[in-house]
Structure formats: C-alpha cells, structure tokens
Amino acid sequence: MTLTDTFRLSLRTVISYRLRSILIILAMSLGVAAVITLTALGDGARRFVINQFSSIGTNLLVVLPGRSETSGAFPGAVLGQTPRDLTLKDSRLLARLPQVKRYAPLNVGEAELSAANRLREVTVLGSNADLIPIRHMKLAQGSFLAHGSTNSAQIVLGAKLAQEFFPLKQAIGQRVRLGENRFLVTGILAPQGESMGFNTDEIVIIPVEQAQSLFNTTSLFRILVETKTHDAIEPAKRAILEIMKQNRDDEEDITVITQDAILATFDRILHALTLAVAGIAAISLIVAGTLVMNVMLVAVNQRTAEIGLLKAIGARAEDIRLLFFAEATWLSITGATLGFLVGHIGSFLFRQAFSQLPAWTPVWASIAGILVALITGILACILPAKKAAQLNAVHALSKK
C-alpha cells in the first residue's frame, strides 16, 4: 500500500467517525492553544517589565549605601559596624567624574501634606533639578525644582494630588504645609500612573536638603546617576566605586547597580516563568495524547472485524500499523493547526484587551507546541497500532 493511499484511507476513517474525531481534535487544539496563549502572556509580561525599566531612564546607575553580600550575614553586623550612610557630599563627588552626565540624590519618606483645609499622608521625594531628565518624567505645569538650589522651599505636586487639593483653583503659586514647613507650589507633574512601585501621581517632590531636614537625617536613600553614553556605564561603575572607596577610609561599603543588570535579572526570571507556564500547558497536551491512545484502543476494538478483513485480503501487519499511525497523524495535525490558530487569536484578543501588554507568542513556543502535540499524538498510537497489527485474523473475522 502506498503512503498516499494509507493517508487517504485513514482520512476517510477520521471523517466518518465525526464526533470522536472532533473531540480528540478539540482536546489537542486546546492544549496547543494553551501553550501559545500562555507563553504569549508570559513573554508579554517580560516585555512589559523591560519597557517599564527603559521608561524610568536610560544609561542609569543606582548607588546605594551598604555592601551587597552574596552570602552570610552583614559583615558589619558581625564586626559591630553599620554601613556608612550616603551623603550629599558623596553625591557631589560623583558629579566630578568624567563619565557622569548628571546625577540626582534621592530621599524618600512619608509626611502629612495640608492645604486648603485638606490633609493627607503623601510620599515625599527629596531630589534636585536633574531628577526630571534622569527619570524621564514630565511636568504638566509650572517649573520643576530650581537648578543649583537644593534647599529652596518649593514643592512639585503629583497630578492627582494637585487635583485633590486644588480642584477649583490654580495650584501653582499656592502655599502648602508639609510636616512642619511651608512650601510654595511651583510645578505639577504630568499624569504618569504607576512606575516602578510609585504612583507618581500621588507623590510630592521637594529639594533634597528640605527633605533631609523634614526627616531629620543627613543620609540619602539612593543616588541616581546618568552616564554620558551607554558604553560609559561600566567604567562609571568602576570609577564610582573607586572614588567612594578613597573617601571612605578605603572601604568599599556602597553598592552600584546598573540598570542593565536589573533588566537582565528580570529578563531571566520572567523568561523562566514563561517556560514554566509553557511546561504546565504542555502537560495538557500529554493528557490529550493519553486521550488519543484511549480512543485509538477503543477504535481497534470497534474495528476488529475490519482489521481481520484487511488481513484476509492481503494487508500486511505493517500496513495495518501504518493505517492507525496515519489516523493519529491526521488527528494531531488538525488539532495542532487549529490550536495554533486559536492560540494566536487568543493572544491577539489579549493584546486588544490590554494594550500595555505586548502578548506576542515567541516563535519557539509556537514550534514547541505544535511539535509536542504531533509527537504525543503519534506516540500515543504506538500501543493501539501494535495491538491492531498483531490481531489474529481468524479471531478478528469471527467478531461481528
């Protein structure tokens, strides 16, 4: 029997056992669609996070106090030392480095904001004028913190806060009270929503020294540094560590994180997550494969007399085996193709519904989904096909 005839005959069988075939194809296609849609979501999440990172700034270095250790407890804790604070003096040192384009010291805290008989707790950022370009933030109105001054009594409000406190009035030029001190509103941030853990619509920004006095501290939370070029990131990191060491009794007790490193970590984590999700979805394909095996075993029983007849008119055991494999191949191919389409339609709908989520299926996931479907479908047929091929023709023919 030629291969063409084998596939043609088995296609007839697939079509004539309509309900059974539809159910198998459905199970197969759901499995493939699950792989494709879920990996699209996983990979979409990965791209979403990467986009978020890019949006908070480019060529970014973050300097934070303390040495990050890969193992053991804080060495400082054991030796009775605490990591030294980062100070404004440190940040000014960084400004002298040739690789550094600009920097923004950062202090973060909570304080009560009150104005026009309203009062609420807000997140306060203390920084300087360069925070805006470094973090790619935008102003809606007014001006940001003044250049060169780190202690003027001015305040920039998040978009939502400005709306809440001054729903009817122009917020610029109003006086507000933050903690004990009074500030003049000079600017309002453009609405930006959530960005790396902060809702920038609900923060206020004041000059860094004002923040330090408000929170009664001399230390900084972080220093954000932007290098002149992308290639300058690594040299800048080394130079920062070096200059800080010189000024800190030769001790390296700060940590410099590059944005690339954070990105790479997130990329790895989310890629692993995508793989895990794909693996879980692939299990449903194995379930579908088991279903194929089950149904094919039933088919062998149903078609016993027919198999006997085929043997009587000269079919070899090999021909019978191939007929069953061809049948499983049809079912798997149809299921995989349908699942591929449904999966991509699903990802498309996700992209439509959540425009921020770039839910595109990675190519490897499409290929893997289809291959796993074909392989499980065909593997599942080994046992039934063998059983059919080995049927005793005389017994098979005597069965009605």
Binding site: T2, G314, A393
Partner: protein
Amino acid sequence: MIRLSGITRTFYMGKQTIHALDHIDLDIQNGEYLAIMGPSGSGKSTLLNVIGLLDRPDNGQYKLDGKLVSDLSEAEQAQIRREKIGFVFQSFHLIPRLSAAENIELPLILSGIKPNERKIRVKEALNAFDLLDRAAHKPAELSGGQRQRVAIARAMIMHPTAILADEPTGNLDQQMGKEVLALLEQLHQTGTTLIIVTHDRELGNRAHRKLVLRDGKITADKTHDIN
C-alpha cells in the same frame, strides 16, 4: 495446485485440547470445485483458513503451486493472499463507511496499484458483477445479495487462482443464495479454483468433489462428475 501434507492444528480451550485438524493430507488441483462439509466443530473452517493462509498449522507442510508457503513470513503470506486467494465470507465483511466501488478497490490499493489503473479495473468489475448502478452506495444501502456480489467482486478483482468461500449463502434467503452460488460457479467455469465450506447438503452436492470432515479428520472424499 494446493498440496497439504500432515497438517495439524490444535486449539487449547482451558484444559481441553481440540484437534481441529489432525494430520490432514489433501491435494486440490487448479480449477477444481470443492465443497468441504461436516458438522460444526469438525474443523472445516480451520481447514479453509489454513488453505487461505489466515491460520498457521502447528505441523505439516503446505505447498501452493509447488512452493512451500507454510513457513513464509507474515508479510510474504500476506502477499500470497493478495495475489492468489480471494475470500468470500458468510457475513460479507464489507467496510461500512466505504462505497461498493471503494470496497471492491481495496485489494488493488493494498497491492499498490496506481489510481488510474484501479479505476479501470473497478469499473470492469462493477460491470461484470452487475453493480454499476450501485457503485456509490454504502453497504448499508445494499440488499444482502448485492452485498455478497460486492464481496465476490472484491475477492475476484486481483484475479486469484482460488476463491475460498465460507458459508457464502448462509446469510441470504433462498433466491439470493441461488444467485450468489450461480455467480461463484460461473467464476469456477472461467478456471478459478472454488472451495466452499458449507453444511448445506444440497449446496455440497453441486460441487464436483465433496470432502467430509469429522473431528479434524477427512472421513470422505468423493469426486463425481455432474456434467
């Protein structure tokens, strides 16, 4: 020609041993018309299955046209079934989802014959067996006699040297049975060996040679010329 020597086939049913064929020696010339008779359980179907290479004897030799076929591999026996033997069954054994024409075509497909030639040969067969207007019908849409005609057409499509029929009229009423038998005898007249297993005495008497089996042994082997 068919030559069986010392053919033994034993079945074990629990503790019981059944000698379905007990040292059978039998020669059948090409073109013979042979009826195998006997009570049920006498081994007549087993004998037919051994001759048709569907069943392997436990002992003994089977030569077909001078070639020892009892020791051939499964695939080689399948090829002989395809080329030299045509089966006709009591219950027709047509594939229900295929049309009459497609059922007749099956042996040609199994032999790997090209679609163009298949079409011509199926057409000829449909014509010869008076089934042209039933070509596209499924077996369920055919009468019993028509179904058996399709089955005979399928058995003949490869021009076998022998037709093996196991109770070919058993599922048909008298009129249709007669027609089917006439058709088989017609084929015999063109030179095909015809071997029929039956317990119908009248049918058995029409054959030129009558074999009676009992407990796996040949108890009578009579040849008589009717014509």
